[in-house]
Every structure is written in C-alpha cells, then in structure tokens.
Amino acid sequence: MAFEGNCSQNLNGTGVGKICVTWSSIAGFWRAALGFEFASESDAQDLTKIQEAIQNEKLYPFPNIFSFEVEDEDTVNEEGSLGIIPIRKGKKAWNFMIATNPYQDACLFSQDNASGGIYYISTLGDIRGITDGTAFKPIPYQLFQVQKPVENNGADTGNKTAVRVVVADINAYIKDVAIVENGDITWNALSIEGLYPVQINVQSASATTIVAAVTIKSTSIPVTGLDSTPSADFIVKTAAGVEIVPSLISEADTTGVYTLTVAGLVTDDTIALQPPSLMTTNQQTTGIGYKGDTPVTMTVV
C-alpha cells in the first residue's frame, strides 16, 4: 500500500470538524536530523536504510512512550457561514513521557534542542510522516525539548524522560500526511533502537599489547561480542593519526575485556571504536549499534 491519508479538506482553521488523524495513537517516535528524509516510501520500509540512517546519526529512535498528551493550540470562536464554530489556530504540542533506561538517558538528553523533524510510530506500528509525493519526510518541528531524566521515585516504574515537541505547521502534516503501513514492513518499527554510547577503559598497555574494557556509558555494562577481526570494530592509531592494524584481537570469556596485539605501541597512541557505520557488530536486525567515545590515549609501560 502506498502513501495514504490525503486530508487536505480537513485543514485546521477551515471550520471543518472532521479530523482524519488520531493523535492519541502515538506509541513511539524517531527524531530525524535537519535535512534528513527517506528518498521514497520503499526506502522507509528497508531496514538496511534505517540502520544506515541511525549509524550515520541522522535518525534517533526514542524508546517507546510511557504516556502521551496533545496540547492543542488556543481555540478561538469564529463566526462564519456555518455559524459560530471553534477554530484552532497556532501550534500543536506533543508531550511525551518515555520510560528510559540509564544507558539511554545520556544519549536522549543530547538531542535536546536539536533541529530537525519527527516521524512517529502509531500504536498500529505504522510510521507516519509527510510526503511531497515522492520522498517520505519527517514532520518538521520548531521545538524539541528533552528534559533531564527523572529517577524512579518508587511510585512509578523505571526512570522517565519528558519530551516536548512543538510541530512547526500542523496543517502541513494534516495535508501531506504519509503513512508507511505496518503491513508493508517485515519488522517492528517500535523495536528499532538507537546507538548505545560506549566507552573504552584501557586497563594496561605495553609495547605489544593493549588490554581494554568496553562498557556502556552510565552503567558500565560490558559490551560483549565485538568483532575480533583486526580493524573490524577497533581502530588503533599513532598520535599523528596513522592507523596501526592489530595482529590479533580476542575477548576474554565474553566479559567485554579485549586483548589486542599491536606491534610497536608507544605512549600517546590511541584506541577507539570505528564510527558506527563502519562497525561490523552494528549490523543487527533491530538497528541497534554502538557509538564509541573519543579515542583513548594510552600510556605504554
């Protein structure tokens, strides 16, 4: 099924009461970087394209929402040929409360005030945005605020993060709404996860060997199963930025501690993870990937 939802006769401010979009059906959303769009509907159905967008840091899936409220713009009464009817003018704000995990909080908060647009996922698993007839674009917003996570206070379950999105032009969305239907995709849009920020802690470094622990930031949960093929996931460089390819990489008993054999290491050489789009381990079905921290400088002893 192609794009659908031509609701051009239902523009806000026209006095026509029928609303073709059910706002309360939002179950999740992806923030898109400024200028990002899927070239076509079929691209938005392609999990590989979505992974690529996530790994290139153009698309940021947020965890499923905990609660959702629509804050309508001011309503005014206007007299017209149909009598006095309430007209909505101005902006529409979406207030999301999402249940977060500590390892995601830092990543989510980093999106605060970032420019761009939003795709939302309905409770039916549809992906909704707008279209010009060809591209599948995010709904532009004029404000995207992410509150610092609120710790679990015991009364509720889990941590919570509030996100407020003020849609730039709600009429544009109603007029140009485009839907990629759940039935047209073979994966679950609500299961798509974003990049996990990770860090490397060098435990020891000698002239030939690096022992480094890789963990999720915030929680120190070990990142296990990174690819041990030299240069697949890890990258070692000299202080001048020249790559030194390891001879051998291994993980000690799936503990997230990796041993790298590298010839001629000296102090100030660095170790890092490859950019997300180049990491072998990122190619997973849910779109999850790792975003390494800045390169860690080693002191060789």
Partner: protein, 69 residues
C-alpha cells in the same frame, strides 16, 4: 575476512602478522589465558599447526621457474 586466518581456537590473526614460533606461542598464551592450562596448550599446538601451514613462505625454496626459452 580475507586478510585473516581463522584458527581452531577461534582466534583470527591478521595475515600480515609474521611471528616466529616463539612469538606465536607467547602471544597466544596471552589471548587464551582464560582457558585451563592443559586445554590452552593443546589449542595453541593446534593453532600453530594450522597457522604455520597456512603461512608457509610464498616461494618454496629449491623450485626455480622454468625458462621461457
């Protein structure tokens, strides 16, 4: 994967790596340090057998190219 050798232990050394037998054993001792000592030795022996066979010199000695004339 073209530039690595997959050893029986699961380790994947780069083909660019040209260690001596002593260096090979010493390095693999480190990478397989979590294995029990007996198993570690048999793993390294098996790895060396595969590695040394795969990484034999490109041009075997004693074999000359035939003259085109």
């Amino acid at each position: 994967m073209d530039n690595v050798i997959v050893l029986p232990s699961g380790l994947k050394p780069s083909k660019e790596w040209k260690p001596t037998k002593e260096e090979f054993y010493k390095t693999l001792e480190l990478h397989l340090r979590m294995e029990p000592k007996d198993r570690r030795k048999s793993l390294i022996d098996a790895d060396w057998k595969v590695y040394s066979k795969t990484m034999k010199p490109d041009k075997p000695k004693g074999k000359k190219e035939e003259s085109p004339i």
